[in-house]
Amino acid sequence: MSMRLPKQAGEWISRDKTVRFTFEGQEYSGYEGDTITSALWAAGVKVLGRSFKYHRARGVLSFANHDVNVMVTDGNDTNIRGDVVALGNGMQLDAVNTDGGVLKDKNKYIDSLSPLLPVGFYYKAFHKPARLFPFWEKIIRKAAGLGVVNFNYPRITKRKLNKHCDLLVIGAGPSGLSAALAAASEGLEVVLVDENQSLGGSLTYDYAGSESSRKILEELQAKVAETANIHVYTGAYAAGYYADHMVPVVTAKGITRVRAKAVIVATGVFEQPPVFHNNDLPGVMLGSAAQRLINRYAVKPFNKGVVVTANAHGYRVALDLLNAGAKVAALVDMRAEGQRDDLVGELVRKGVKIYPASCVYEAVATSDKLGVQGAVIFPFDEATGQANPGKSVNIDCDGIAMSAGWAPAAALLYQAGTGMGYSNDIQQFVPNCLPAGVFAAGRVNGVYCLQQRANDGMRAAAEVLRYLGKRPPEVTVDKHQGPSPSHPYPFVEHPKGKNFVDFDEDIQIKDFVNAAKEGFDNIELMKRFTTVGMGPSQGKHSNMNAIRILAKIRNLPVEKIGTTTARPFFHPTPFGHLGGRSFHSHRLTSIHAWHESAGAFFVDVGAWSRPAYYQQAGKSKQQLVQEEAQAVRQTAGIIDSGTLGKIEVCGPDAALFLERFYTGKFADQKVGTTRYALLLDEAGVVVDDGIASRLADELFYLTISTSNAAAVYREMQRWLQIWQLNVGLVNVTGAYGLINVAGPAARDIVGKLVSIDLSDAAFPMGAACETEVLGVPVRLVRVGFVAHLAYEIHMPSAHGLNFWLALMEAGAGYGIRPFGTDAQRLLRLELGHHLAGYDTDGLTNPYEIGAESALAMDKPFFIGQRSLKIIGKKKVAKLLVPFVLPQEYSGEMPQDCNLVIDGAAIKGRVTSVAYSPAAKRIIGLAYVDPARNQPGMVFDIRTDNGSIVKATVVETPFFNAD
């Protein structure tokens, strides 16, 4: 039966646009502007989902963007929320978490087993005997969870935007709108956010059958529309409050990070269900849900209903129901007094029977348990919270609207650090200590009267203006008068239970009582034991009731119970929104394209991409690395080392600075020479090593390993600040390219381009100079890290490719070959050089790598020196030694990080190991027992598969060069 009403003024649907869809295999239609839930309800469909635990039929509860019992799937998306997601043409929807459809769900039997499954039952069962737990676990896991994940869902990440403003107003109800307008009129840039499609908040549905609210709404909407400095975001929720007034605002299109100078939280309140037997049947819904169905979507909630209330709002709901043509068979008011004569009179005039001091004792289910067929009304003693079964009245109805009170939508206020206190006047937590720059207005602030809500918005705007240094006039807001909008204890006991507090998690009153009996009687423990508020709606309709129940159990005032911590997010937020489009930044040298075309296989080193080796069809990586290394040994190789960190240290105190920063001496270093530079941290741990070239009296040029470059430069800057030396530091890592030509032919090749004398006498190992190559000023350094004869040419990085091509051409006749980092690692190993960060780890001290000669302990100071004086007194625990395997070794190849063992004890590990074509055997570096460090001594390495390999300590280099 269609529940669609004739056109309602202000409805959100477009009746000229029909939308067809299916639900559980049945065809339906709705209108553009409908949500899935409103379209189904309009079509007369009431069973929209099954509950999480007991698989009870569920329909509409709050219809306020957190009805998680209505969760559907289209086979593509996993958990689509029916009350939030707009209806789309051709949608084929099914309820999630059913076995055999929402009407015939085979798991509904669990409901009748519920006495077996009290709160926390799973802590008390299935674990004995232990061996059977995996069996039970499978069943439990399958029963839990909601939707099924679609593994073929495409990767969709959404854009992110940033928005800066003076004031962010969250919530566009009467107080939010008034606040935004008041602030904007004083010139503030205002962002106004509301989760609904249209501005207005309760002004879009709470009419009490009258036109007056809509008139106010239309005026406010028009004013906002003509105010240029109010930036409106609708269909947008504020997901959380983060430090310094940053609020991510989520829409279907993505997230906007709004950074405001001040924030007004005008998020209103969530209506809370009174709790009675079967209060979860389809057809039982909150009063505001009924109003939203009617006034936003033109859907009749039910034909003949009962309204149960404990405030004035229930009367307004009844008037809206009557206005929509629904019969109101009874209005049941849980209060003995406090009724407003005007509302009572109006309803009585319209023929509604009012039952004061009464409660709905139970909703009577239809025989198929899929809906409501009546309500049982009992007198209710407010003081004791007891229903009196003596004088019951049974009323036939197909729906019940519930309005017993509210809870503040204060999650963002809590996240901002707001102190909240409980007001007995309105039976609600209200802010009593707001952090700087955060303000609250409207019902979340405890202001209920419509006129005062608007005033409160203006008052908050005035406070914002004051906070921002302006002088606005005072705005006063009247204190709440009259009966409380919330009932302090709207609960009705029933021997059969099924009086639900948390609809996400199927938690009933007795679950709280029992949890408390077991000792879980503070709100956080109760939450964890019962799981109240842990479902997808995060307690929006359940936390306040849980607090009230616990207060009653412990006979304490509500404020003594406190609240649980409110965590982001306000609504569940998709991964693809939060992750957004991520950026993977990496740096490339100017020669990168050449490497690519030459078949380079790249690896990431720090932020850089570097060729590991150059691929060739039909050849293995191992083979290619060996070939590249052999080229260096036999003729020449060329490597792009432009990624190395390069830092200029200049000024009168440059040498002094380096003496303090590094372990070695630099004051007596001659211009035109290089020195090894070893860096420790203050604990004496090896951090990095590099080369310092002295290019002038007051100019040193440092090279630093690629991945440490940024961090070493940073530390240099800090120590320079501390020491206040007359030194300039320039990070020229990106400014300079670096090409290393290595091998016996290196001199001849480089010599073709360089005009200076490269002979050993004129430019020996360790020499460095500034010269000109290809008409460009360069720095030339003779190095020995990968080969005994090698030259580094440092040129402005834009010239890198030109130099590379020129060197390749110069070397063509010699068989020059590019090599990558893999061959480089092998080549330095053959020369016996350790690699900081590869052969050392986060605890290695210089004694363990045999670097004593690099430590100028006689200097007055260097970083780590004082710690070394302590470490030096201790026995070295392990020592890095070069080792070889027998030439004829044919067993399993040891790997980096295989252990060095001695019987049952771990003595160290292999840090580098490779087959050396130059030494014609397997060589490596390993940490060993310091007692076994002499050449010729043998130690055991255990390979991956567990076999023991005998390795022999040797001297380096591993081969006879030149």
Binding site: F133, R141, A144, R909
Partner: protein
Amino acid sequence: MAYQLLKFALGREYKEPRFFRDCQTPKKSYDAVIIGGGGHGLAAAYYLAKDHGITNVAVLERGYIGGGNTGRNTTIVRSNYLTPDGVSFYDASVKLFEGLSTELDINLFYSNRGHFTLAHSESAMRTMRWRAEVNKHVGVKSRVVGTDEISRACPQLDISCSGKAPIQGALYHEPGSIARHDAVAWGYARGADSMGVEIFQNTEVQGIDVKDGRVQGVHTSRGYIATGKVLSAVAGFTPRVCKMVNLQTPIVIHPLQACVSEPMKPWLDTILVSGSLHVYVSQSSRGELVMGSSLDPYEVHSTRSTFDFVEGLTSHIVDMFPFLSNVKIVRQWAGMADITPDFAPIMGNTPVRGFYLDAGWGTWGFKATPISGKTMAYTMANDRPHELIHSFRMSRFEEYELTGEKGAASVGH
């Protein structure tokens, strides 16, 4: 159907007893006072009573039991550490965990899932081998596996990570498990309480009396308690408690954040960790994905959430599992992690006689709950450190003998 459930259906009255008494007024003195009613403190109380017969013990909890890092972690239990001492210690913890549901008679949902530490680079693969070799040496089931084995265990994982950080292999740790964290605290609380230990919630320690280098007693919001032995098991509050006895530590407090998704039907059976992507993820028995990341980058003594965390984490999760793009995160939270310079705990006696420290748990406290309780109980009962915790002694920093866990720049989880 498990027969334990039947008792709930029989009889009108709900007869389940309290897990632990509602203690309000402490005695004048106790043989030992434990500060911190988290998993560690409660476990220490339990083993003090059970292993050593010391039952005249008070546990003082500032908030509610299990409300600190016990209830904020991502519940992973594993022992695939880097140093032999570390591996042995956590392996003993795993073994205790395996029998704990039975011992405490509470279903901890101890679920053996297997644990993959993904490696996205050659250098990460080297570290995996290092850990595997040490684990094997100590007898713990860990090994380096290739991408084929990862795909078999988790076919949904995009091995290329959306092309951004291709996975090269992993360290597979067979005993890796998850458990219901709160229940661990509740089970130990019940066990300790049943042997006479008194647990005081909402009880703040305001000072510790030390005379002649010895602990004399504890000032609390419920009055003064005389005792000769005090254990501090307070994780992120360690600096505050240590200050009461003028004890310097190297601990710094960094928030560690986590989040959960909405519930889904089970699909992720294993525990996945990626150091390079700063992600760890498993699916709880409720169907939620439980996810964590690395430590926050700077010191804060609070449990505030940041948006940066969740942006970074979700972006990497979507790289690993592109199909989760429209699945939703429900909640994020944080704990205060007490970090040491070498990524290993500080346990044992201290220069203040009678003051015992169980701290420096960083991101690895939950998995150590049973063994830390057991070894600290031993240490308190005998006034000398248990052999398993020797390398975690406080004095190692002055001695420049930091544990080797720092070596591999451990991943937080």
